[in-house]
């Protein structure tokens, strides 16, 4: 009797463990949850200089329809070594990833980043246009 009880308990434990480990959402190649959210936009943008202080002279203008971010930076900003920071809608991610300083000194060819929605079905390319404060 005791033997049957132990076996039943062990099976129940295994089933519980297996059930608790199963996920509701799949995981993408970055280990991030792929959710049901389809929103795909940039909510805020910051640009830091080599001293990790902002180089913006005023608030960025983010156009989620035209998919552009217009930023004006201080005169004399070292644009070869800046750190862009994107704030995205929930569950979205950025491609390519920003892993360190970025060279944004080529003003004629503005840099682009792609925002990918939480469900990974929507991709939107955002262009970051930089102007220098006169």
């Amino acid at each position: 009797m005791e033997k049957y009880f132990k076996i039943t308990l062990a099976i129940l434990l295994l089933l519980t463990a297996g059930w608790s480990c199963s996920s509701d959402f799949p995981i993408d190649e970055d280990g991030l949850l792929i959710t049901s959210r389809g929103q795909c936009y940039v909510s805020n943008f910051e640009l830091l200089g080599s001293d990790f202080q902002t180089v913006r002279s005023k608030a960025p203008v983010i156009d989620t329809v035209a998919q552009t971010i217009n930023v004006e930076v201080f005169f004399g900003t070292d644009l070869t070594n800046v750190y862009p920071q994107f704030s995205l809608v929930t569950d979205a991610k950025l491609d390519p990833k920003i892993t360190g300083k970025v060279d944004m000194s080529d003003l004629a060819n503005p840099r682009q980043w792609t925002v990918v929605s939480g469900n990974r079905q929507v991709r939107k390319d955002y262009t970051v246009n930089i102007t220098i404060q006169p």
């Binding site: 005169f75 070292d78 060279d103």
Partner: protein, 329 residues
């Protein structure tokens, strides 16, 4: 069955007894006085050891009252200290307010070469003396060790070794004042600031030009290479031959204690210069603020430096800077 219960109860009882006995506190007893002359030392200064600054130690020595009195203390450095190195003739204790209270132990000490010595004139069995070793320039990049020793009236002697301590290779200069259109030419090689005449006499040693411009507002106080674009040197006529292009990277919140003398625990060391990479940095830094700084590499790559801005004065159009410099050779 009875035996099983007996064993179970016995184990529980033993566990409880062990727990109770393990928690019993030993009664406090006064520590036993070690016989003979004893000594100990601590290093009181923190951070990298930079030539020109001191390394401070506290050297403590004591002997039981019934065995004798302290007669002398001595420190020997492996490299003779610079002028100002001395073994203090006061012993200190801390009062209720936390202040150090000195008690004179002997006549002012003598330092000869690498040795500092003091002879006790006060009748004492315990003393803590402070030793200030001024790091000589010739010790840069080397290691220095110290041998502290003491003697007692009963003939006993003890010694205590401290170190070795690495002496930083970098050099330092503090509180230089740069003035717009006057003493504005900064030389990393000479670690000084020249006026136009001095710059004209040493054109190959001028790495940066200090200038202040009220407009645009984001210009303000700037450190600009002589070879920078003209828009970063508005209204500046450089002395003949002043044409170096020095890489500059702005920094913030790096308030090195030696340079700023306000924050404890932040130090720039040789390693920071060895790992510095300003190869992609521009040759100018404008809008420098008080307490900011700039990592710099000279055009020939011979020197790397960190320039800390101690203060700026918009009205006086000036900037007070301090500098640590590291030679790459």
């Amino acid at each position: 069955m009875k035996r099983k219960y007996f064993y179970n109860h016995s184990i529980w009882l033993l566990t409880c007894i062990l727990l109770v006995s393990a928690c019993k506190e030993d009664e406090y007893a006064l520590p036993t006085l070690k016989p003979g002359l004893q000594n100990d030392a601590i290093k009181r200064t923190l951070g990298p050891n930079v030539a020109g600054l001191d390394i401070e130690f506290a050297y403590a020595m004591a002997i039981p009252d019934n065995e004798g009195r302290l007669t002398s203390a001595r420190v020997e450095a492996s490299i003779p200290g610079a002028v100002g190195t001395w073994l203090e003739n006061n012993s200190y204790h801390t009062d209720g307010s936390g202040d150090d209270i000195p008690t004179q132990m002997g006549e002012p000490t003598s330092t000869s070469g690498a040795v500092s010595e003091m002879t006790f004139t006060r009748d004492t069995v315990a003393s803590t003396l402070r030793y200030y070793y001024i790091i000589p320039d010739e010790a840069r990049g080397q290691s220095v060790s110290f041998k502290f020793s003491a003697t007692a009236s009963n003939g006993q002697s003890v010694s205590f070794d401290m170190g070795p301590y690495k002496i930083a290779k970098m050099e330092m200069v503090r509180l230089l004042t740069a003035v717009n259109n006057a003493a504005a030419y900064i030389s990393i090689a000479d670690m000084t600031i020249y006026d136009a005449a001095g710059a004209a006499a040493n054109p190959d040693k001028i790495d940066l030009v200090y200038l202040y411009r009220a407009a645009p507002a984001s210009f303000a106080h700037a450190l600009v290479s002589p070879a920078a674009e003209a828009q970063y040197l508005p209204g500046v006529t450089l002395p003949a031959g002043v044409n170096k292009s020095t890489r500059v990277r702005k920094a913030w919140a790096i308030k090195d204690f030696h340079l700023a003398q306000t924050e404890v625990g932040v130090y720039i060391d040789d390693l920071d210069f060895e790992r510095l990479d300003v190869s992609t940095s521009p040759n100018f830094a404008i809008n420098m603020k008080a307490e900011s700084g700039a990592w710099v590499e000279t055009a020939d790559g011979q020197y790397r430096a960190y320039i800390y801005v101690n203060s700026v004065n918009n009205g006086g159009q000036s900037m007070t800077i301090s500098m640590k410099r590291y030679s790459m050779n």
